[in-house]
Symmetry: C2
């Protein structure tokens, strides 16, 4: 029997609470579906800083490299806001992404029918929304060199400083994430829209040309369009359902996927997967995490919605282990619980529902399985 190794990094804020519910789900699959998981747990973000003085210990990094998949909760919190840049909680997450080379970040923005009224957008604009943003995650301005803050005395800035970051993309980096997007599109609506600012940035021109190259040479059957990222932001607000798969760079992906997530009105519901190249066993390097953050304001109160984290585990079943049927089963269980009116605080709307805690939501989902 195959044993799947998982490293759980609950992180900060509501991370540990929502991850506890994922553990219940993992337990259910072990007991009822004959799956075997080997689960270890460690620290990341502020929690790791508190213990090790840095947001990701080297031993944790080594463990992440060795397992089949990493499940991450969330990082950050006001307690760590004034830490030096190099040890901020986010650096732990960014180190994982970079060293595991998780270049393709999959962020589905789906509007759950039972929750469509939560959106600030009109129901008729978002009902049934199902788009997938594929964000490049290991390059661009997040990682480009040179970077930093230094003294600067250029005219108009005497005695001042200068802050520099570098947006840098190679053909290879663009092509591999484009391939991910085209592959995923083939299993969905077969359409990819690539977004950049080729009208003002040369790195955007290269992005557009390389995505087009991959299309023309390898995926001519998929429909490809290009859009400037500012127009992309507009179109996401105006008519998000025009999109199927969107592929974009690290920084635009950060902004646009958050906007898209908020369109759905279901932020507490949205999972993500970050995938790298296949390992020796054929599985991609992978990290799964909810789109929402650490929500320090409600941490430790049993109010958090664990569904985004649970659905991230469903993505893990699908993308890391090829267990599509099990992933479907878990997603269906979540849908059933929602249809039954079970609601954490963030999902309580005018029409009421059965208010539950984080742990109760987890229990309901396990029961629905």
């Amino acid at each position: 029997m195959t044993t799947y190794s998982l490293l759980i990094l609950p992180g900060d804020g509501i991370g540990p609470e929502v991850m506890a519910e994922v553990r219940k789900v993992i337990g259910w699959f072990q007991n009822n579906r004959g799956l075997s998981f080997e689960v270890s747990e460690d620290l990341v973000g502020g929690a790791a800083y508190d213990k090790y003085g840095k947001p990701l210990a080297d031993e944790t990094m080594a463990k992440a490299q060795a397992v089949d998949a990493v499940l991450l909760g969330a990082v950050g919190g006001p307690k760590y806001d004034n830490l030096d840049f190099s040890v901020k909680p986010e650096r732990g997450l960014l180190r994982l992404r970079k060293e595991m080379d998780l270049f393709a970040n999959l962020r589905p923005a789906q509007c759950f029918d039972a929750l469509a009224d939560f959106s600030s957008l009109k129901r008729e604009v978002v009902a049934g929304l199902d788009i997938l943003i594929v964000r490049e995650l290991t390059s661009g301005v997040y990682f480009g060199e040179p970077r930093g803050i230094s003294e600067d005395n250029t005219p108009g800035n005497e005695g001042g400083r200068v802050g520099v970051n570098t947006q840098r993309y190679t053909s290879g980096e663009i092509r591999r994430v484009a391939r991910s997007a085209f592959e995923l599109a083939r299993k969905r609506g077969n359409r990819v829209c690539s977004m950049e600012k080729a009208n003002v940035m040369e790195s955007g021109i290269l992005w557009r040309e390389e995505v087009q190259w991959v299309h023309d040479n390898e995926y001519p059957d998929v429909e490809l369009s290009h859009m400037y990222a500012d127009n992309g932001a507009m179109q996401l607000v105006r008519n998000p359902r025009q999109f199927d798969v969107i592929v974009t760079d690290n920084l635009f992906g950060d902004i646009l996927s958050d906007a898209a997530a908020m369109l759905t009105g279901s932020l507490g519901m949205l999972p993500s997967a970050s995938l790298g190249a296949p390992m020796e066993n054929g599985r991609p390097k992978a990290l799964y995490e909810p789109v929402h953050g650490s929500a320090p304001d409600i941490a430790g109160q049993g109010k958090a919605n664990p569904i985004a984290c649970i659905l991230s585990f469903a993505m893990c079943l699908r993308y890391s282990f090829g267990l599509g049927a099990e992933a479907d089963l878990l997603e269906k269980a979540v849908e059933k619980v929602l249809a039954d009116g079970v609601r954490t605080g963030d999902l309580m709307g005018a029409e009421g529902g059965k208010p539950v805690s984080t742990a109760e939501m987890g229990d309901h989902i396990v029961a629905a399985l």
Copy 2:
């Protein structure tokens, strides 16, 4: 009597049509308000490329530097999509911004009551929306060096290329646009929210620190908050009315202001002002342009809505010439025409209205004056 010198650059697509209506408005103020304007006209963007082989001739640039204010229509169109980067229509606009040193781009996102139902957002989320985005316009990744595309053979990219752009901000550049934002906030809701990605970019850390410095030393009376730009995109979608003035960099400003514009549902209504340092006569260097683009699909058909361009002229009256009363008068005239149900195609909704052409809309506004 003071004579105000204006350079009109209609540009491409619907630019010339909407600018023709601004001319009517200028004429009205000359004839009925005793104002004296000296108006010249020239080419920019694709129109300039067609005639001069570049998107802004040096003589045009010199004229722009000499006048009190520049009024611009729009640039770009499919005809020019495959031009070399250096002569794309956008480069003309970017050259104007850079050489006139128009560092503060003011983009009001206002939801007009008569048009609130056009928004894809729920009426209760956007009705009465009135935020002002102050976008830095002459620096950041739009202009930073090094930049460009070159050959690259780093491992994984053999035989490939690399595209580079540089995000670069000095203390002086950040402080001056922060001052603009604080000054404007004092005349409005007295609140500024600054947006960056200080959690991943050092240039964002410098941005945050310098904005805070200007606040603490010069504008302690204004309420200041900081937000990561991805969260900013979310919050704009979730509850845009929480903001008064937003100050952000060139690239984030591009994306976020377009998202904000679309929230209002009134893209054809939104003006902008780009302001620089005061000239000898005390007036700031200034360029005014609608937020919408050149809309090539409807160009030349008399369908375009001239209101954004006309309201840009109202901003010109206010910010360049200190003619607040005249600006108010013009804005009131626009409101009256809308309240009367006069509508260009983009404003025609379920509740009907009186359909008019671009020129008729201009005539109605002049009549309402």
